[in-house]
Each structure stands twice: as C-alpha cells, then as structure tokens.
C-alpha cells in the first residue's frame, strides 16, 4: 500500500463527483483530440491532392466553371463538353509547357455492387501527365482499350469487370487514397475507349450517352517553370473565347483558407474549453480538501508530511484527468472513424486519416496534456492541504 493506492481509493469516496469530473475531462479532451485529428486529416489530404492534381491549370467551358470546381473539390460527377480544337489553341499559348485532354462522363449508377455515382474520366495515354505517372509506377504499361483504373473508394480489385453504358471493362489497378472523391470515386479510361463506349451505348446501353470524337471536357495545362500559372491562365482566357482557366492552386486555396479558418476557430475553442476544465477541476479539489480537513489533520498526526499530503491530492487529480482523457480520446477516435462520411458531406473537405503512428502519438499527447491539466488544477488546493494545521484540523471533531 502506498500514497498512489490511497489516492486511487479516494476516487471511490464520492463516485458521482468522480464520474462527473471524468466525464467533463472526457468530453473536452475527446473534442479537442477529434478536432486536431480531423484538421490533420484534412491537411494531409490537401497535400496529397496538391501532389496528385499534376496540372497547373484546368481549362473548361466558361459556363462549366462551377461544375468543374465541384468536381475537383467534392468529386461530384459531372459532364460538360467543348471543342477539341481548344486543345491545339491552348498548346500555342506562351508559357504553356504541355497540354493533355480529359473527358468527364457522369455514368448511370454503378451496376455492380453499390449505389453510388462513379465519376468517369477519360484521358489520352499519349499526352497525359497526371494518370500516366501512376501507370508507369504501378502497372508499368499503358492502359488497354478494354481496361480502366479505379479510385480507392470504388469497391473493386484488379481483375474485376465493371460495366459502363453496356460496355464491360477490366480493372487494371486501383489508385492510392487521396482523400478527395475527385480521384477516389473516379474510374479512368482512355479517350478512345470512352468514345467507342459512347458509340456502342446507342445499341448496348439502357441510357445511351452522346459524345462525339471532336469533343472534350477539359484541357490540363502544365506551365513552363519560368512562367506564373496565374499569368498563363489570363492569357489562355484572353486568346481562347468561351473558356475558363482554373488555376489548381487557386482552387485548392479556397479549401486551404477554409481549413485555416477552421483550425483557428478550433484552437480558440480548445483553449476556452481547457480553461473551463482547469477551473472546474480546481474548484472540485478545493472542495475536496475542505471536506477532508479533519482527515488531513489526522494523517499529519500519523506522520504524513507536507509532501505526502500534496502528493495524495495531486495523484488523485492526475488519475481523474488521465482516466477522463483516455476515455475521451478513444471515444473521439471511434466517432471520427464512424462519422467520417457525414463530416465530409457537410464540410466538403478532403480527408485522409493520419497514420497509426500519428494517431497513437496524438492519443498519448492528449493523455499527457490532460494529466498535466489535472496537476495544474490541483496545485493550489494541494498546497493549501499541506499547510493545514493538524491540531486545528483535528479539533473540528
């Protein structure tokens, strides 16, 4: 038996108060932990998307600007077309390093396994520079006409066959998770395969799609190193009528700004919550010391010195806050993992869960911070307790 044992047993004295304090710490530490993980996940995803987008500028029809942004930011399947001639015009603009076409098709609901809108994106294997690097790294060959690459959230594995507009395609591979539905719920095929699929859909599909070979949805532009993407975008819009040039960084900046605002708000709220918990715990421990004045006097009569008395109070506080924090972070983790979809739907932010190592480190950090908070809150009460005059305290019989 030691002081820690006594402190632990003291938690059982007033179980209602103990559980309430644990609950307060649990809720606050869980909320702060969840907010921190959520923001880290969003930041992680934005970095991943920034790397994946590849192109500096996305050229789309003027009237499709909003649809295009919605597609990139929230992966909302969309379909719009413009003349393929724009591709050559874009190639000739000063500052443009290379261009590649893409075709966006919003298919009928996925016939295979679940009811979700898949985003079909067709690319030119000869000129593309966003999908080809992945192909070179993972399957080390060009995609065939009867093959597609699936995003991570499509429930297929390499070798599976899926049907679009009556045409079957084999899954050649699945991409890594990016946290953005634009990639994670997309299926990539070659443009030739897309055009043929559209042609064949007239006879094979229940809902045929009309896409002529002289049409594309967007042009991906890579800018030369010594040119600014913003300036090239202006030139593109000036030289080519009827288009909108979306600078990738600008599109993501909106998300980054939103994330930055959320982070600041979360930080401010976290500080306020932390102060509230600190004050509540301090009040509780002042009350506890007051209740146990006589008992503390008796302990001193038995030979407990100031350090013993302080240690007992501080240990009790750190156990309370430690237990509350463990419960809170575990609950926060479970809620985040299970309600991820709801959060994504409402906030429209990209999201990749951090690595297990980061999560464990964050949980440990949360518990340590919580224990420190408990110690800080009980510091003054413990000092007061250690100074109790044993004779005066015992006289209170």
């Amino acid at each position: 038996m030691n002081i820690a044992h006594i402190a632990l047993k003291n938690l059982k004295r007033n179980t209602t108060r103990t559980w309430l304090l644990i609950a307060i710490v649990s809720v606050v530490s869980g909320a702060i932990f969840s907010a921190a993980i959520f923001l880290k996940s969003a930041d992680h995803a934005i970095k991943s998307v920034s790397d994946r987008l590849g192109a500096d500028i996305l050229v789309v029809p003027e009237n499709a600007e909003l649809k295009a942004k919605a597609a990139i930011l929230s992966g909302e399947p969309t379909h719009f077309l413009m003349d393929k001639a724009i591709l050559e015009k874009a190639k000739g603009i000063k500052g443009v390093k290379r261009v590649a076409p893409q075709l966006f098709i919003k298919p009928a609901p996925f016939t295979c396994c679940y009811n979700v809108d898949v985003f079909l994106i067709a690319f030119d294997p000869e000129t593309d520079f966003t999908i080809n690097p992945w192909l070179e790294k993972h399957i080390r060959r060009k995609i065939r006409a009867d093959e597609v690459i699936a995003g991570k959230n499509i429930p297929v594995v390499p070798g599976d066959t899926i049907l679009f507009f009556g045409t079957g395609f084999k899954i050649a591979g699945t991409m890594e998770l990016t946290g953005m539905d634009f990639f994670d719920r997309a299926v990539f095929m070659s443009m030739d395969a897309a055009y043929k699929m559209a042609e064949d859909s007239r006879t094979k599909a229940k809902e045929p799609i009309e896409v002529k070979r002289d049409k594309i949805s967007a042009v991906l532009v890579q800018v030369k190193d010594d040119y600014s993407a913003d300036k090239v975008a202006i030139m593109l819009e000036h030289e080519i009528k009827g288009i909108k040039a979306l600078v990738s960084d600008t599109v993501l900046i909106t998300v980054k700004k939103q994330l930055s605002r959320l982070t600041k708000a979360a930080l401010a709220i976290s500080v306020i919550l932390w102060i509230i918990v600190l004050l509540i715990m301090a009040l509780a421990f002042f009350m506890i010391v007051n209740e146990r004045t006589r008992e503390i006097g008796l302990l001193k009569a038995m030979g407990a010195n100031k350090a013993h008395i302080s240690a007992m109070i501080l240990l009790e506080a750190s156990m309370l806050s430690g237990l509350g924090s463990i419960a809170g972070t575990l609950l926060g983790f479970v809620l985040l993992a299970n309600f991820k979809g709801l959060i994504l739907h409402y906030l429209k932010l990209p999201y990749i869960f951090p690595s297990s190592l980061y999560l464990v480190a964050a949980m440990m950090g949360s518990v340590v911070t919580s224990v420190f908070t408990g110690l800080l809150s009980a510091l003054l009460p413990s000092i007061n307790a250690s100074k109790i005059d044993p004779y005066e305290a015992v006289r209170r019989f």
């Binding site: 038996m1 030691n2 002081i3 006594i6 047993k9 003291n10 059982k12 004295r13 006589r294 008992e295 008796l298 302990l299 001193k300 009569a301 038995m302 030979g303 407990a304 010195n305 100031k306 350090a307 013993h308 005059d389 044993p390 004779y391 005066e392 015992v394 006289r395 019989f397």
Partner: protein, 220 residues
C-alpha cells in the same frame, strides 16, 4: 521520556484570551500509564496536542528523550510523530475507502515499512481477527475505535496519546480497550497518556492527574 517545562498555550477567541494550558511542568518516564481527568474545556486535549507536537506552545518547551521537539523542522516533526507517537481520539475517523487492515497499515505509508501481516496481527490483538477486510461502514462504532487503536500501535510507538478513547463507545468495548492499553503498557513498555472525563477509568493508570482551567494537579 517526555518532559514539559513551564508549558503554556493561549488562544484568542473573539478578542478574549483563553489560557488553555498554564505553566505545566511534568515529566513522564518511559513505560508509565498516566491519566489526566477533567471536564470538557479544562485543557486536557490541548495538553496532549502539545505533547504530541501537533501544536506549538506559546511559552515553555516540550522535550522528548531530552530533545526540544520544536527545534525540529516540519519534516522532522512528521517523522517523530510517525515513529514515536501514536494518537487515539474520541472519534475513530477511519478512512472510509480503506479496509480495517488498510486503515491500521496507513501510518506505515508515511514512514517505517512494515508488512500488512503486522496490521492483521494487531487487529487480532484487539479482537477483530475476522474483520480485517471490512470497511468502516461495515463496523460498529466500538469496532471502528478498536481499529483506530490498532492503527495507533502499528509503528510500535514509544508514546500513546489517547484523548477520550472510550468517550463514544459501549462499556464492554471500553473494558476491552482499557485491558489492551494495560497489556501494551506492561508487555511492550509503551507509555500511555490518556485524557478522560470519566473518573472510573483512573484506577487503570499508575499516575493520575486532574486538569482544571489549564492547570495540572496531581492526584494521590
């Protein structure tokens, strides 16, 4: 040995001075069983607290084994109380979340290391061999007081300062407690200094005193 030299303690309550202990001179040898009888407010409890270094005198000195205890710092006084002095009060004040054995064992947490078996043996000596794992709420007031008494003896103290140890219990338990005190006084040479308002307990002691208005009188 405890030596009190011109010991005085004065309280100020609502602007009035109350002389709780007035110029007490006393020597208690090792192995004595001393009783101090007096009414409530006579200064008995204050005198015991002064002897047990729970409160500092306003005048005079307290010497234990020749040393002025108030020359020690707070840490050393705590050590002294833990190793040499055992306190018994009218109300047991056990820790409600600890078992009887754990309550008896409690003083060892702050000083000398002992085994829980020592606590169990003491509980057997006070007649609670079958209640070691009970919590205070499961014990009668007499049983709780016996646990408190066992607690006072766990570190084999030289002195036991008992302030109305039988004030709140039944006659049968009172007899058992007094018998236990006598056994420990004679068998272990523990010095017992007991304050009581009950003159019927005087025969148990080898030296008897009366306290009135803070002044100590010997009783022959």
């Amino acid at each position: 040995m405890i030596e009190l030299r011109a010991l005085s303690k004065i309280y100020k309550i609502a602007g009035q001075e109350i002389k709780a202990v007035q110029k007490v001179n006393l020597t208690v040898d090792d192995g004595e069983f001393m009783s101090i009888v007096g009414h409530s407010g006579s200064g008995k409890s204050t005198l015991l607290s002064l002897m047990g270094c729970l409160t500092r005198p306003d005048m005079g000195s307290v010497l234990i084994d020749g040393e002025d205890i108030w020359s020690r710092n707070d840490y050393e006084l705590s050590k002294l109380r833990n190793e040499k002095i055992g306190f018994v009060y009218q109300f047991p004040s056990l820790i409600p979340t600890l078992t009887a054995a754990e309550n008896v064992f409690l003083p060892t947490v702050f000083g000398k290391k002992r085994s829980i078996e020592d606590a169990v043996k003491l509980l057997e000596l006070v007649g609670l061999y079958d209640k070691t794992e009970r919590y205070p709420s499961e014990l009668s007031s007499g049983e709780q007081q016996r646990v408190a008494i066992a607690r006072a003896f766990i570190n084999s103290p030289k002195f036991i300062l008992a302030d109305e140890p039988t004030g709140n219990i039944d006659e049968e338990t009172e007899s058992e407690i007094m018998a236990f005190f006598e056994r420990m006084n004679k068998g272990e040479n523990t010095t017992i200094i007991m304050a009581t308002h009950d003159v019927n307990l005087l025969p148990h002691a080898t030296r008897k005193f009366r306290m009135k208005n803070g002044i100590l009188y010997g009783i022959s």
